[in-house]
């Protein structure tokens, strides 16, 4: 089910500033691939190009065997390339369940249905409930999304991506701003998802990154510094000095 995601010489410029500089990334099917790097390294910009929200200035993106460099966002999502947002982006006016059912519906069928309630589509509701259960949000299914606590909103964001049965998941800082306990719960969840989906994880929580990742890429000033196993990254003197510091991981 899971697919790989590959870029070749991806470039994105904002004026004179090159935010993505010849990035050639190879995420293998089924792996959990983390991208780390200091703030402003261009991690989110990279995700936005992968998801299709930003058009790259040069280079190519391959999703599985398919080139998707110019495919629109919705087409990539339909193909199974799903993302979460660093800044939580859920529909406040809808209930938690409505949010997730909409996500389950989005990739599976069209929404040109004008009479019966969306929540009467039982199969979609079951899929949504399974995703909510996975992230631990099922007890809050009826609550308006606006009433959720911060950590719960992040969980909802994740549930929406999971309900879409992704082949590749792009997770943009899923643990940002979460409490230690919430972070640990998400780490456990991601560990349980490993192998089922190809996951690209952007995260500042190094503990989580090193515990979860099969491979790690280091992005600095838009350039891919290196890619390697957690072991290789941890022992690389250049990475230690520029980014990780002297802390132990």
């Amino acid at each position: 089910m899971s697919a790989g995601l590959r870029t070749e010489g991806l470039v994105k410029r904002y004026g004179a500033l090159t935010v993505t500089d010849q990035v050639s990334l190879d995420i293998r099917p089924g792996e959990l691939h983390a991208i780390i790097g200091p703030n402003g390294a261009g991690k989110t910009t990279l995700v936005n190009q992968l998801s299709g929200e930003l058009r790259a200035d040069a280079g190519r993106i391959y999703f599985g065997e398919l080139e998707v460099t110019t495919s629109p966002v919705h087409a990539r999502a339909r193909g199974g390339l799903l993302r979460t947002y660093q800044i939580t982006s859920v529909f406040d006016a809808f209930s938690v369940r409505e949010n997730v059912v909409l996500a389950a519906l989005g990739v599976r069928e069209h929404a040109f249905r004008f009479w019966r309630p969306m929540l009467s589509r039982r199969r979609l509701v079951e899929q949504a409930d399974a995703a909510m259960d996975l992230v631990g949000l099922l007890p809050r299914a009826e609550a308006p999304a606006a009433d959720l606590a911060y950590g719960e909103r992040r969980q909802l964001e994740l549930a929406m991506a999971l309900a879409a049965e992704p082949r590749v998941l792009l997770l943009d800082e899923p643990m940002a701003g979460m409490s230690a306990a919430e972070s640990a719960a998400i780490t456990r969840l991601l560990a349980s998802l490993k192998g089922r989906y190809t996951i690209l994880l952007i995260e500042h929580d190094m503990q989580a990154v090193f515990a979860l990742a099969d491979r790690i890429s280091v992005l600095v000033y838009g350039q891919l510094m290196l890619t390697g196993t957690p072991e290789e990254i941890r022992n690389n003197p250049e990475v230690r000095s520029t980014y990780l510091g002297e802390e132990e991981f």
Binding site: S95, R97, W115
Partner: protein
């Protein structure tokens, strides 16, 4: 539906307004004042148009300042057919619907590439183009407009008859309001409403927002065309002034006054707006000043218009929408 939900202020007032509208023909008959039928009939027609606009403005979050164009097309569908001596209601309807669908598709395909101010300006521009087109069509009355001799006949039903028109408009408005309520939580409605808040997010869920908006826009245009057909029969006159941009603006005011994106809002807004207009007109030539004051007041009283105001009368219920999971329809 549990009784307690029907006793909430909004459905209660909405229901009472519909009941009142249903009693108008009876009261007009008792008082021997058939004039009331065409007066309130006009309320119904505008309520239909406002409900149509609500689809794209309220649910879709797109401020169209050009919906008068579609009412105008509905009016001229009747007028032009009548000009050639054709009184078939089906033909009138087909002409209006086809014109609205076609023009809606073309103008929507262009204007929906923008949002916000851009969308307002482009829809305004298209409707003004329509206005000047009909002003320049001398064969169909040009600036002065033209009387409609052959009103729409559906078998034995002649919409030229004020009572027939009233009941047809009433039934259509009830049907439209029911549909609007269903649409709100249907997949299509959820996509439109979701995209109003965050179109990018809806795209990222795999749904091409543009297509959904375009379909919503065309549907909204076609329903406005039906309102136009009714208006043509009501006034037995077609005039380019139906297409002027003030009418589009008034429709927006009705929707906002009643409550954008709500089911009853456009109906309440249209009835309130037009009643105020009639009342104030009876007392002063400067009725617009009074109306302006009422609108300002409503804007100051907070979001959600009349419906928002009514729903704040009572503390919010704990469960907003009952979710039918078990035993519901598959």
């Amino acid at each position: 539906m549990p009784i307690s939900r029907l006793l909430q202020p909004v459905p209660l007032v909405g229901g009472l307004v519909f009941l009142g509208l249903a009693l108008v023909p009876v009261i007009a008959g008792l008082l021997g004042e058939p004039y009331y039928l065409s007066l309130v009939g006009r309320f119904l027609v505008y309520a239909i148009a406002a409900s149509a606009l609500n689809l794209i403005l309220g649910y879709g979050g797109l401020v169209s300042l050009g919906h008068a164009l579609f009412m105008g097309l509905g009016v001229y569908g009747v007028a032009i057919a009548s000009h050639y001596g054709l009184d078939s209601g089906l033909l009138h309807l087909a002409l209006g619907l086809a014109a609205c669908a076609l023009i809606g598709l073309l103008t929507g395909a262009v204007s929906l590439r923008t949002t916000g101010i851009g969308f307002i300006m482009i829809t305004l521009a298209f409707s003004q183009m329509g206005y000047y087109l009909f002003v320049s069509l001398r064969a169909y009355g040009g600036d002065d407009g033209m009387p409609i001799v052959y009103t729409s006949r559906f078998g034995g039903l002649d919409l030229g008859n004020p009572a027939s028109l009233y009941w047809v408009a009433f039934v259509l408005l009830v049907a439209l309001t029911c549909w609007s309520a269903r649409l709100r939580t249907s997949p299509f409605g959820m996509v439109l409403r979701g995209a109003a808040r965050n179109a990018q997010r809806v795209e990222a869920l795999g749904l091409p927002v543009f297509r959904y908006r375009l379909v919503g826009y065309v549907l909204s245009a076609m329903i406005c065309g039906v309102a136009g057909l009714l208006l043509a029969n009501l006034s037995a006159y077609a005039s380019p002034s139906t297409l002027v941009w003030n009418v589009s603006g008034e429709l927006i005011v009705m929707v906002v006054l009643g409550g954008m994106g709500t089911v009853f809002g456009p109906v309440l807004g249209a009835v309130l707006f037009l009643s105020l207009e009639e009342l104030l007109k009876a007392y002063t030539d400067h009725w617009m000043a009074g109306l302006g004051l009422a609108i300002t007041l409503m804007a100051l009283l907070g979001h959600g218009g009349l419906v928002g105001l009514l729903s704040r009368l009572r503390p919010r219920p704990a469960a907003p929408v009952p979710v039918q999971m078990e035993g519901g329809q598959p």
